[in-house]
Amino acid sequence: MLTIKNLQAKIGEKQILNGINLEVKPGEVHAIMGPNGSGKSTLASVLAGREEYEVTGGEVSFEGKDLLEMAPEDRAREGVFLAFQYPVEIPGVSTINFMKTAVNQIREYRGQPTLDAVSFLGVMKEKMKLVEIDQALLNRALNEGFSGGEKKRNEIFQMAMLEPKLAVLDETDSGLDIDALKIVSNGVNKLRNKSNAVIVVTHYQRLLDYIVPDFVHVLYKGKIVKSGTKELALELEAKGYDWIKEEVSVL
């Protein structure tokens, strides 16, 4: 589904990604962990098409198409979803209106008929249950005055609405208390199936108790320096990142 080959990227003059290789197949969950500043969020941003980042080398292919060539909206329409680490507050734009535009533009792109107000509302009600989000919240301006947990739940609600093939969750767990974490993870798990995939970018192992990964990768200095299964995450939790850094410096 997703093949990343030797991906390099910088922001301004600062080189952040130094050759990432990753292969994600349908049905898989990959966790990307690593110390602060290792490039985790940069990787998520580059996949979603954030324009401040300049790709300086390598390639990313998504279902056989060159992802890096596409505008951010086309990546979303092809089925890539980024759950933001810091969801943006947009005054005056309600989540419902915004989602209706998004869903219908994506449907048009895929040659599907657009949803009228009634069918849209039907789909929405169903997805709201998944993430236990209240309609009153969705009637309000997008994320404006939402608590941290509400913002993250709204991200997963949007993911449910857009049904992406590949979801990239950028530190969706940071700042969440355990109840919110469970709700968010639950939502993600309910959306998982054989044909979609999830990349979980996280600093903490805690989230991986709820969204269980098939693979865990450790990102350090813009490279994946170690890959393993979920046990690797537990080891990182117990021992921290220093032993990884030492291993890398020995090499």
């Binding site: 954030r50 324009e51 951010p72 909206e73 943006v88 947009i90 005056g92 209106n97 998004a102 857009l162």
Partner: protein, 437 residues
């Protein structure tokens, strides 16, 4: 005066013209004559005049207009393109400054008086002369003096005490320049009695490629506990220039809401002055300007708190693209005796292109010591992070931008209470935002 030689030439040319047009037998002859003298004394604003620093009206009059040239009649048939469909209203149509009875429709009623001002001057002489020229100051503004000396027609409304008028009054001001340059001076007088209420909407449109200039003055008197809603929709084509003065005199417990939408035109200068000469007054001034090309829109507002315990709120928002220029100047006076005044002002701007500009200046002069006043001016670009967020959900760039601009404008639009007017503006503005701005 620091007027340059050329300014003086335009001023004296126009002054001579005003003198020539004076009619000794006119009902308001004395007023007009005085105003013509005031115009000559004040002169058109010089290039560096503080009040017109960013808005070179004098230069435009000098370079693009032959002031002695008569204004053609214009095509009345065009007016249907500009009207608000589905709005039950009394309408008065002015084409190139001339009242067009055939296109206007005023319901017969004893509830209120609606007349072209020239007619009212004859039929309601005492009432008109009691108010005409008593509020808009000819000494302070040359354009007001010009208008007072030379206005051709306009609206007269008198709402008697205790009459609540649901049906809005609409004025369509069409400039048709297909047969040449158009210069007009129109004048409105609005008298709202005690406990009465009325809504008046003015719409400005233009057709034809020649330049046009309009000088319009509105004086409104709002008596005790009365209400006035005043809308202005300025939706002109490329070559329309206009300078307007709206002066509203408010008595105790009166309520005024003004809306100024500037959606197009070449140069638009709106002077809006509210005199809060009473207690318990509530005034809201809303403005929205969406500018592109090389349009210049200049809103100069004054709120004058003269008595205690009144409230004023001002919200002007603007979006500028291309080489468009926005100007906002908001004066708030709180006089020594106007204790417990609440006065708020905000001007927010979004610049979409690197060549668009805005000059914004709050000017608060507060002599009372127990007041709540605040002001805030901002200008910036669209939030890139928010744009990216919307695009990352599959929304194309233009729609994402339109969505954000619509939300930005929404803060003003939401205050429009008449559903037909609101829908009309809503459509006009969203179409505009979804096009290439």
């Amino acid at each position: 005066m620091s007027a340059t030689v050329t300014d003086n030439n335009t001023t004296s040319e126009l002054a001579a013209l005003l003198d020539k047009q004076l009619v000794a037998t006119a009902v308001d002859a004395a007023l007009r004559k005085e105003a013509a003298i005031a115009f000559r004394t004040a002169g058109l604003p010089a290039a560096k005049a503080e009040e017109y620093r960013f808005t070179p009206v004098t230069r435009i009059l000098e370079k693009q207009f032959t002031l002695s040239q008569p204004t053609p009649a214009g095509q009345a048939s065009r007016i249907n393109d500009y009207t608000l469909a589905g709005l039950e209203a009394d309408t008065l149509v002015f084409i190139n400054g001339v009242f067009s009875p055939a296109d206007s429709s005023i319901q017969k009623t004893t509830d209120l008086t609606i007349l072209p001002l020239q007619e009212a001057l004859v039929s309601h002489t005492a009432l008109v002369l009691k108010h005409l020229g008593q509020y808009a100051d000819t000494a302070a503004d040359a354009f007001t003096a010009w208008n007072t000396a030379a206005w051709t027609n306009g609206l007269f409304v008198h709402v008697p005490d205790n009459k609540i008028i649901e049906r809005p009054i609409i004025l369509y001001h069409l400039h048709d320049t297909s047969e040449g340059q158009v210069v007009t001076a129109t004048r409105n007088l609005i008298v709202v009695g005690r406990n009465a209420e009325v809504t008046i909407l003015e719409k400005y449109d233009s057709a034809g490629a020649s330049p046009s200039f309009s000088n319009q003055v509105t004086e409104a008197v709002v008596a005790e506990n009365a209400g006035l809603n005043l809308y202005s929709i300025q939706h002109d084509a490329g070559q329309r220039h206009q300078v307007g003065m709206t002066r509203i005199q408010q008595a105790n417990y009166s309520r005024v809401n003004t809306f100024t939408f500037t959606l197009n035109g070449k140069l638009v200068r709106n002077n809006l002055q509210l005199v809060l000469d009473g207690e318990g007054i509530e005034s809201h001034m809303y403005g929205l300007y969406l500018l592109t090309g090389d349009t210049l829109a200049d809103n100069h507002t004054v709120v004058d708190h003269r008595k205690p315990n009144s409230f004023s709120n001002e919200l002007y928002k603007g979006v500028m693209d291309g080489n468009a220029r926005g100007v906002f100047n908001g004066k708030i006076y709180v006089r020594p005796q106007a204790q417990k005044t609440n006065a708020f002002q905000a001007n927010r701007n979004i610049l979409l292109s690197p060549t668009a500009t805005v000059n914004t200046k709050p000017q608060l002069e507060i002599w009372a010591d127990d007041v709540k006043c605040s002001h805030g001016c901002t200008s910036g670009q669209l939030d890139e992070e928010a744009l990216f967020y919307l695009r990352a959900r599959g929304i194309d760039k233009l729609s994402a931008q339109a969505m954000m601009l619509y939300a930005f404008a929404g803060e003003v639009l939401t205050n429009v209470k008449n559903p037909v007017v609101k829908e009309y503006l809503d459509n006009l503005i969203s179409q505009r935002l979804h096009k290439n701005f």
